[in-house]
Symmetry: C2
Subunit: 275 residues, 2 copies
């Protein structure tokens, strides 16, 4: 039997015993997606989403997800409680909580929807004249935590700084091709995780070590399942930049594009930093 | 005694009876902020935030707010239940629900924080060469619903279309000066409401009547109280554009700037549309 992809292992959730909270799920942090301390936040976001995706009352596909990282996630078991607080004809609203022994470690809200074809258009601009992934080299991951080793990242600009030389840059913009490593067909859970895969903008901007932590992450899913399958295992183009750094918090805005120029997701986050 | 500002009336919440859910609040829709049907979503967002701001256990000031509009809000009473699900040393995480007779009509999550001075910088660019508010005329509000009459909007570009002539535009970008009408000193609640005051991008882009409804609204508050007081009752510069329209949902991203060029808030929303 083929071994499961590590991402599928990482988001593998088990229904809790029926006498427990109805439809609660148990998962765990996965060593393949470890960060410096605790897990990669993208995996936690994907687990929170997964707990709604697996819920028997689920309607449609995710269109919006907001994850608030409330406390450091400890390595080990995590309990997910997803509640569909409102189900309409074609939309559904979720509140999801992630618990560990000492309390709530993350919360999320999600909007799911049954989509139908309408007039559609991309107004954002995909970066032009970007070399193909094959023409770029993969970011070296030696010495990095486990999670970046699970992504094949090929930077066009704004790479993770080779040295924290404190040479402040004019901007924090990054453009890169990125896919799961090993390859895996894109789905909503992996798109949620990819939304958190941009390195903290303050590292790119200041080339200075600082303590950081995402406090809130929002992703809008423009892609539906059919489009995700069409992208398949290929690289997607990620673009990220910061808007504002002020008094301990900066925000970062990003886009994930299909090779054909469809905007798969737009994603925003607020990050705590200590200088 | 001076009459209350209509916005203060609109966000005026009363603690529920003690035998009820602890720290629940009751508010109501306000005719001064009525939309075509039901209330202006910005006022609902402000009420949700206010229920955490008024909570006796509140720590610090809001840095992130996500509001999901789960169902149409009926005119009348709304019950708000704000729960601080996690309180850390300098951050606090909230889940907030808005209830009406028939169920949950909106949910929100918020992150509050005690901020301290750090290295700060604006990376986004405020539009240059924008005329001062006095050099522009206020958008005519005759025939509009009540809520736009509560804002003094002075458009530089991308005004609400004078006619729905179905002349599709190249983009949906808007730039405008906006303040409360009558004047009111800016605070977190009014900044939350302002974040929802951009007209739907699809109207600007397609100049075509379509049914729309915001499903999720996220605001990052870069300003602290001192900066808000400094802006006072003056206009702030709003900028908004759409990124992507696809199969019934588009996203809109916006910025609110102080006259001095500080980014007060960045805000993003996902909007349902029917063409």
């Amino acid at each position: 039997m083929a071994r499961m992809h590590p991402f599928d292992e990482a988001i593998d959730l088990h229904a809790s015993a029926p006498q427990d909270t109805p439809h609660a799920f148990t998962g765990a942090t996965h060593p393949a997606y470890a960060n410096m301390v605790g897990p990669f936040g993208g995996t936690t976001a994907a687990q929170l989403l997964q707990s709604a995706l697996l819920h028997p009352d689920r309607l449609g596909d995710p269109v919006a997800l907001t994850v608030n990282f409330a406390a450091p996630v400890a390595d080990g078991e995590i309990r997910f409680v997803a509640r569909p607080v409102r189900t309409n004809r074609s939309t559904q609203h979720w509140i999801i909580e992630a618990h560990q022994a000492e309390g709530v470690v993350a919360t999320a809200t999600a909007v799911f929807a049954v989509r139908r074809e309408t007039w559609s258009d991309v107004e954002a601009e995909m970066p032009a004249d970007v070399p193909a992934p094959d023409a770029l080299t993969r970011m070296p991951v030696k010495g990095m935590p486990a999670w970046p080793q699970r992504y094949d990242m090929r930077f066009v600009e704004g790479a993770f700084p080779a040295a924290f030389d404190e040479q402040e840059q004019a901007h924090s913009r990054s453009t890169l091709w990125v896919r799961d490593e090993p390859e895996r067909v894109l789905d909503f859970a992996s798109l949620a995780a990819l939304s958190d895969s941009f390195f903290p903008r303050i590292y790119v901007r200041r080339r200075r070590r600082s303590m950081i932590g995402t406090v809130s992450l929002t992703t809008y899913f423009h892609a539906d399942s059919a489009l995700l399958v069409q992208v398949g295992t290929r690289h997607v183009l990620g673009v990220a930049k910061a808007l504002n750094y002020r008094h301990g918090y900066f925000d970062q805005t990003g886009e994930l594009w299909s090779p054909e120029g469809q905007l798969l997701a737009s994603t925003h986050q607020l990050v705590y930093y200590k200088d």
